[in-house]
Symmetry: C2
Subunit: 691 residues, 2 copies
């Protein structure tokens, strides 16, 4: 054994990739650049600093450096690299005990190097992995200095000082147990390892790694906080599991709970958009992607431990490198043999009650991916976005998520932490693509209430190979008191050479009159509101709470007449036009909005929004998002800037069955939607159209 | 001779690139794809349509197709390609005579295929080149049908019906003479060729190609309408010149007027930003780049005829293909041999009176390029942007040009033509990065008046290799009655590992009180206004004319005290922060603005602006744009989000000499700026600083 995660044979295998092309060779090259640069700079261990500060960043970097320098030292048999890792550890060991605790800056308890203990956990993971690789390169007294000066006080802090936090079933808890377990293995202490595996009470049920595996993820592997935190949680999950597979093989960790680790990796990766970014569900950045370090590790582990599923290999092709590990070598081989493109299956990720639907059509980078959420709230990072929808197609998110309101690690932005506007806007229902009732967020914007509730998936069908249809029906009765909401998200490919239509039907039912706001977020440039539009000269704020206080009204399109009405608007984003067509059962005022009001610190992005507002007891919005045409400004080429759909006609056949007729320039297409159908075949049927 | 522009030897040379890597092989591959697709689709010649319509686009495409199919037919000895070109020509010949004229949609006279004659000229260029390649592939009667049915009526239209327009010294005139000349050569008629070369009066001075060469471009090759129209004008310039070099070699066309054609190509390419896009000076799109077809031809011609200047070869490396011509083959070879990077010299493009300065520092894609305009107005496409400035660095335009207000070829946007907001906003002074006086555009927004005036370049110095300084001083006395304006644009590299500072000094002198608005356009996200900021809850329009009616006020930073004041604001764009520091000699209110008010048709882009307003007789703004730090959201890495400059101190040493002291966290740097210095050495000197 050369270290916690690498056998002698693994090292030999990895060594064969040095200076070679391919994913693993690429990553070895990057690590070498990083470590060589650090060698030139010498050992730099600063004091304490604020979140996002130079000190903060340097400590983060140093943990990576300890791990990477030690790893490269072994891979390349280079004692200079091993010395660097050793010297860093010794320097930290000299000052860690006497370092005071930081002042807490958020709800997490503070560490010494960092303002929140979580960062200290992550730091210990890297340092432990690096230390485990140094082996006989260290003298006995160096060993003692590092263990007594650095590792022991850290373990004490994590398991004694913050004992109350150690068993928490949460992504932070997962990092805590991984840190303590890996460190315990690295210094040969059984007690912290057992605590890390079985929890403080030793049962393996209330805390510790086994309980985290069983309880943090749904049986499908779904993680309730969403992909952004899932990719963060999957990292310690994979690292500690690899260590246990080598050092506690009797646990059969990769098989546990019907391969929950493998399921969790697949569930995470099933959420990724075609360009590799993760949909920004709940608190999340809009740019986090499959090249994240945790995802690199997870993808390698899946391919190494659970097999090279084609759509996962396809993702590995998109990555810029991989984990320097035996699993990374297996992945590198799979990438070499990968076909140019492969079909990517739709997925329904059940979370025990409702779930999250990922509807996918097409192949390659321009394929289509619709997300409809009808599952649990995401705890403290949850957004009030039940029955929310987002849509990616043709290389871009067409109906966008706003994501979190946070500039991670940007120190002048509140130390890079969550900003007030995250609660004020980003989490609120109106920030999402859905129907807001009475200008209030779901569950009154109350996380505790929302965590008690969940949506339902009523239908989920993928017939894309048969008749071009992929669809999901989700619903909730408890997001708003006395209002039942149901949403159908439908991808329909009529012409295989064109993008599918996104048909989005939202039905609200109530015995009382309500204000229903259908909202969505387009990106890019408005081309035209079809049928008139009145701009506002002065921009007023739309409302006074639940996110409405951050919206300006830019202009509006009134409905004509007192009955059902239609709206249509075309926008351009990148090389493609999208037209939103709406049939509304009641008179609706459609508004063009702009995000950014009441934002003294410039924390919000000025993005466009569209809202269609109806006052009714029960109502129905049938929306079609039609992508069409082509535009390239640089070459000044443009085609089909106008939509093909002329009208939408809607009939209610019975209480819940709906007939939708799309009237095109060239004919019509009729769908009957029956949410109560016994089978996916009966859920949506086509009738007498020109299809 | 195989065609107008290709000898038998050229064809053999080109043939050697088929299915080969390299620029020419790449372009041959693209042409083959294009023509093969058209072969499958068959001959499609629609009737007449609106600007931007399917018919419009198809006619445009067909001219290219005639040229490319014929060219590939010869390169690949494939009669099917030649047939396609022939059939297209015959189809047009059958219907052209009887086709009615279109209705004019702008100030240009209408053609038959297109709503403006310009497009018909361009069409004839392609068709003539294609026709010239068909040669013996056509029967005599086919020849006659094409010439009498298509080419003769076109020549008549251009030289008789629109005789009054034919001699116009303008980019449209250049297309007209190239079309008539190339067609004349292709059908063997001397008269139109002579007209095209020497103009209608045969003098070669008032009209025709020779006069265009001599008079359309300044001795430096500068084209007054700006790079967007320059790249459009250079295309027929190069094509017709190549034909004349082969068929009228006695004209020595490439040598004419001290190699004016070569100078013009170099002047155009000197304006290109490091990413290959052209600065959007005057009416221009923000995405037009060196991969435009005209630029591909021009760059090939320069390398083929005038030599492989290193910075031009460097641009060819950035292109995605080249011209299928002997010159393209020479270029492809030069690209093969190109070094990884090369220095790119600064350039002052004199236009006979003032000029346009392009200050450049650094190498590679992240290098720096500052543009300061102090030359002529751009005729009908001119913007009122005398002493305007734009700045590109680190892969992005940091101080952006708005460009034109037009969605080229987007049919629902007024047929793709110029929109009312082009006059209303895009051309107005306030849309640019400069000082606006009394909320009015320069020259009262009057093109005729502006065309009579011009700026002056007072200093231009490039000492980047010596002391890191590149600078220009421009001035104007006649943009506003009774107000003299002078601007110093200075790039100063203090630390070669960091981007240069942009120091921007604007001095206004008048005997009367005026309102001076220093405005600039940042892109991206505001991070922070240093020293307080008051947002507006309701957004009001800033003014009522000269572009101000399209601006909303988002918030402001008041000055403190009654004397000189400082402002500072940091924004983030891409991976880099920029901080604007301003010293203002008088109390200034700085405002955050948003473009988009009074825009019923959604023709404007919602972009950010900053304005600092002073009321004074004479005043001085000293601005420093400091780029710093690094941010990558996907990897959540951030460094140095705060600027290093703490204050700016300014002293007037005499009427025109100014001392500027930049106070950094680590020391200070002092510059003395003397616009009247006799030499570039004396223009800007450093004094007692820590440099």
């Amino acid at each position: 054994m050369t270290g916690l995660l690498w056998t002698q044979e693994d090292m030999a295998l990895i060594r064969g990739h040095v200076d070679q092309p391919g994913r693993l060779g690429q990553s070895l090259g990057e690590l070498t650049d990083q470590v060589d640069e650090a060698l030139t700079a010498g050992v730099v261990v600063p004091g304490q600093g604020d979140p996002g500060s130079y000190e903060h960043n340097t400590h983060k970097h140093n943990a990576k450096l300890i791990e990477h320098a030690a790893l490269l030292g072994r891979v390349k048999d280079n004692p200079a690299y091993l010395d660097l890792a050793r010297d860093l550890l010794l320097k930290y060991a000299r000052q860690y005990r006497s370092m005071p605790y930081q002042v807490a800056k958020n709800t997490n308890p503070p560490g010494k190097l960092f303002h929140q203990i979580l960062n200290e956990h992550i730091w210990l993971v890297g340092a432990s992995l690096g230390y485990s690789l140094l082996g006989e390169h260290l003298h006995q007294d160096e060993r003692e200095r590092i263990e007594s000066g650095l590792f022991q006080p850290m373990l004490d802090m994590f398991t004694v000082t913050y004992a109350h936090d150690f068993d928490r079933i949460h992504n932070h808890g997962l990092w805590a147990v991984a840190a303590v377990g890996l460190c315990g293995l690295a210094i040969g202490q059984t007690k912290p390892v057992d605590q890390a595996i079985f929890g403080q009470d030793g049962s393996g049920e209330t805390g510790g790694f086994l309980a985290q595996i069983d309880r943090l993820f749904s049986p499908d592997g779904y993680y309730v906080e969403g992909p952004y935190y899932h990719r963060f949680a999957v990292h310690p999950l994979c690292l500690f599991a690899e260590a246990l597979a080598l050092h506690r093989p009797e646990l059969g960790i990769h098989e546990r709970s019907e391969q929950r680790i493998g399921r969790s990796i697949r569930a995470l990766l099933a959420t990724a958009y075609p360009d590799g970014t993760f949909p920004a569900l709940n608190d999340a950045s809009r740019t986090m992607d499959i090249d994240d370090e945790g995802v690199r590790v997870a993808l390698a582990v899946h391919i190494g431990r659970y097999g090279a599923v084609p759509e996962l290999v396809d993702m590995a092709v998109q990555q810029g490198g991989t984990w320097v590990h035996r699993c990374g070598a297996v992945l590198a081989e799979a990438v070499q043999a990968a076909p140019a493109t492969c079909p990517v299956p739709s997925a329904l990720l059940a979370d025990g009650s409702g779930g999250q639907a990922h509807l996918k059509q097409g192949e390659g980078a321009r394929r289509h991916h619709l997300v409809v959420s009808a599952g649990q709230h995401g705890m403290g990072h949850g957004h009030f976005d039940l029955l929310g929808l987002s849509f990616f197609s043709g290389g871009r998110e067409r109906l966008t998520e706003y994501g979190f309101c946070r500039w991670v690690n940007v120190e002048p932005k509140f130390g890079g932490r969550y900003l007030a506007e995250n609660e004020g806007y980003a989490k609120q229902s109106v920030a999402h693509n859905l129907v807001v009732v009475d200008q209030s967020s779901q569950h009154r914007g109350d996380h505790y209430l929302a965590d008690e509730c969940h949506g339902r998936i009523e239908q989920f069908v993928d017939r894309s190979d048969i008749d071009g249809l992929t669809a999901v029906c989700g619903s909730t009765d408890d997001a708003y008191p006395g209002v039942a909401l149901r949403r159908h998200g439908i991808l329909l490919t009529l012409d295989p050479s064109a993008p599918p239509l996104l048909i989005d039907i939202v039905e609200a039912r109530s015995g009382d009159n309500h204000c229903y706001d259908y909202v969505f977020n387009p990106a890019g440039q408005i081309i035209r509101w079809w049928g008139g539009y009145t701009p506002r000269e002065t921009l007023d704020v739309l409302g006074d709470g639940h996110g409405y206080q951050h919206l300006w009204v830019v202009g509006e399109q009134q409905s004509t007449g007192g009955g059902a009405c239609e709206h249509a608007m075309t926008w351009l984003d990148g090389d493609r036009f999208t037209t939103w067509h709406q049939y509304s059962e009641h008179p609706a005022t459609a508004m063009q909005l702009l995000v950014g009001a009441n934002d003294p610190e410039h924390n919000l992005r000025h993005e466009k929004k569209v809202m269609s507002r109806v006052h009714a007891d029960s109502t129905l919005f049938v929306n079609v998002f039609e992508q069409h045409g082509f535009f390239d400004e640089a070459s000044e080429r443009c085609q089909q800037a106008r939509p093909d759909i002329r009208h939408i006609e809607v009939k209610r056949l019975s209480e819940e069955r709906i007939e939708v007729t799309l009237i095109f320039a060239w004919g019509e297409e009729r769908l009957i939607v029956d949410p109560r159908a016994a089978s996916g075949d009966g859920y949506i049927t086509f009738k007498g159209g020109d299809k």
